[in-house]
Amino acid sequence: MNGLLERLTYPLDPDAFRLLLGPLRTQRLQGVIESVTPLTPTSAELVLRVGRSWPGHLAGQFVTIGVDINGVRHTRCYSLTSAAAASSADRISIAVQAKPDGFVSKHLVHRTLPGTTVQLGAPDGEFTLESAASRRILFLTGGSGVTPAVGMLRTLATMNAASRVSSSPWDVVAVHHAPTRDQAMFADELEALGRQHPWLTVALRTTRESGHGHLDADVLGEVCPDWADRDVFACGPSGLIDFASNRWTEAGAAHRVHVEHFAPPIAGPGSSQTGLNEGAQAQVTFSASQHQVTAEAGSSLLETAESTGLLPQSGCRMGICRTCTVPLVQGTVVDMRNGRRSDAGSHVQICVSAPVGDVTIGA
């Protein structure tokens, strides 16, 4: 049947015509923003209606969102905050913190109107409840790093309500950090969940008020004495993530560490991982679009292209979604996350790759 339909709509996809009936009638992943609820002065939770094509997600996963700003599509990843549900879900939510220089995040938090259609990617990510080795969990979060934890806690709360008796009960501690209580996303909801559910203990640490210092070994022992027996889910500033990785690894529990970065962990400019030395330049040629631009030390190929007005396709901007993968025609690039070099003939992700000298990209 679909085969016949495709022959009738050739060269278009039948979806091109279903789109006339509305964004949620198609087989492509699209969402319509239903509400934008402020969480703090600089963050908001967005509820999106999704169509039948939404495949469902696991608690803790993220989704890529393509949003048109002044006519131009911008794609970013955000953690899903809605409870995990089967594919029958008709609504999902994400939470966004507007970063001071975040063009897309500021737009989503402050200037997005209900009714706006956005493009979605399939939910993705390994930072999920399913990856936990046990049901004893510690969330260590900071800033907007709380968002995947909220998705997981809401999921646990729903599961808990559905089945009151459980053979091995969940035992969860959530330690969240924010500069002040006003800036702490989901503070009220987290505390309410903590009061409501015996399996959950919540500690909100406001580092710029209440005299709470940054997380260190002593603090960890204080807020969660049995931390070494728990799976840790760390998400937030890289200092927090590094702390968790090191602590658990030292305790011989590296397999219990689960981390999620919101930005690619990249070394500073001039290090061996970022290609060019400070102050050095290289010519980057985009062979298909016949553009040549100058790259500066510390910039990814994607940033270099965008700084001169080119808009190559891209997605997560942190090397996970592979939307931006293009062939490397000439030269050598370095993966800024791990220093791995790629030579001509390979395919590279331009969002995390920096040139090592002059390069030609097949884009």
Partner: protein
């Protein structure tokens, strides 16, 4: 000051004048070595560098007489650099102002086009009733014209790539036309737009079938070109589907190298086959429950829509480059062409025709062929707004801006087709 130092960019031939005196000989040697003195881009680079090297103080140094050139493709006194700067400024300001309204425009046109397509086909299923047949043909041919001209042609030019919407993008679009988008992008975006009206390079000059240039050689087969003209108009989409295939453009069709022609021919055949299957088999079969007359009415309606689309696109495109006073260039004339020279050739090699907003949209804004050729990747909805600026620039530089009514422009095309079907009169 730069004017004093710069040669007449875009002029051809070897510069013979002395090098500007303001650079030292050491500079000159070094620059000449990597710029390759003798060809124009090298010289342009040299003078640009020289301009940058000169401190902007003190009296103007005497740069000596301008280099002289044996022949020029350009009128005396035409300042090609100034022309390029002014046209670049239009391009830059238009690009900088693209936004939400433009994105909404193309999405609206796409929605209208798809709705027209559906409505036209629905009406044609009831095509045994003559009014429904006529309405169906009108809507379906309108949909095909919109798709090919305002959407397909322009999307394939990359005019909407700036939106970063993978579905409205030159790399992903396939159009409702017998020519595979990939071949079109080569024969049109590259061969035709890069080499606009350069004899021997731009295959669109007469489409290899019609002698439109009196300087091209006459063969007895050209006697039949009035009939070829009509035939090409009726089956224009099929002609375009084969157009990119260099091998089939051999002068003697009997000597076509089939081995060389085959890969693109197969690609074209697949596209033609699927387009035809949609319009003339699967779509009419939807009327089967209504009986054979309905099936035939749907099929004939689809055929009529395709032919109307062909006649209209043929008319618009032939008005773009073949009316009187459109100039054809030689390869020699464009050797070492500067950006200003390229702009000049686009203006001289294209012709507009007059019309209102409906004409703009139904021609894919190719009634502004001149603006399209100057800025082939600017969104077409902006051509009407920049046309007065282009015209003003042309007037100031004393460059003819070729525009007239559709009827007048097409009339001169027909006259040329008839006249050049015969050999040139002996001088």
């Amino acid at each position: 000051m730069p004017l004093l130092l710069l040669p007449r960019a875009g002029s051809t031939g070897t510069p013979t004048g002395p090098a500007p005196e303001i650079i030292t000989e050491a500079d000159l040697d070094e620059l000449a070595a990597d710029a390759g003195l003798g060809d124009l881009p090298g010289l342009a680079q040299l003078t640009r560098l020289a301009t940058r090297l000169t401190p902007n103080t003190g009296p103007e140094p005497d740069a000596g007489p301008l280099p002289s050139y044996s022949e020029s493709a350009y009128p005396d006194g035409l300042d090609l650099n100034q022309l390029a700067n002014e046209l670049d400024a239009i391009r830059d300001s238009t690009l900088a102002s693209l936004g939400e309204d433009d994105a909404a425009y193309i999405r609206r046109i796409i929605r209208i086009q798809r709705s027209l397509d559906l409505a036209g086909r629905a009406a044609l299923l009831a095509g045994v009733f003559p009014p429904a047949w006529i309405a169906g043909v009108a809507m379906l041919s309108g949909a095909k014209i919109l798709e090919n001209m305002e959407i397909g042609h322009n999307v394939l030019h990359g005019q909407w790539d700036w939106m970063q919407d993978p579905e409205i993008h030159s790399t992903t679009w396939e159009w409702d036309h017998s020519c595979p988008a990939s071949q079109w992008k080569h024969s049109h975006n590259y061969l035709h737009h890069r080499w606009t009206n350069v004899a021997g390079k731009d295959r669109d000059i007469g489409y290899g079938a019609i002698r439109i240039d009196p300087n091209s050689e006459w063969y007895p087969r050209h006697l039949a070109q009035p009939a070829v003209f009509v035939g090409l108009a009726l089956a224009f989409d099929l002609g375009i589907s084969l157009h990119d295939n260099e091998a089939i453009h051999a002068r003697n069709p009997l000597k076509t190298d089939m081995e060389a022609a085959k890969p693109k021919l197969e690609e074209s055949w697949n596209k033609i086959r699927r387009q035809g299957a949609k319009d003339f088999i699967f779509f009419p079969l939807l009327a089967t429950p209504l009986g054979l007359p309905s099936v035939l009415a749907a099929a004939s309606g689809a055929l009529a829509a395709n032919v109307i689309r062909n006649l209209w696109t043929f008319g618009v495109i032939f008005c773009g480059h073949f009316p009187d006073d459109v100039r054809i260039f030689t390869e020699d004339e464009v050797e070492g062409e500067s950006p200003g020279g390229w702009y000049y050739r686009q203006i001289m090699g294209s012709a507009n025709f007059n019309g209102g907003p409906l004409t703009h949209v139904m021609t894919g804004n190719l009634d502004h062929q001149i603006e399209h050729h100057l800025f082939p990747d600017l969104p077409s909805n902006r051509y009407a707004e920049i046309a007065p600026q282009v015209r003003e620039i042309c007037e100031r530089h004393d460059i003819a801006y070729n525009t007239d009514s559709f009827a007048k422009q097409f009339g001169t095309v027909v006259r040329k087709v008839l006249r050049y079907s015969l050999p040139n009169r002996k001088q």
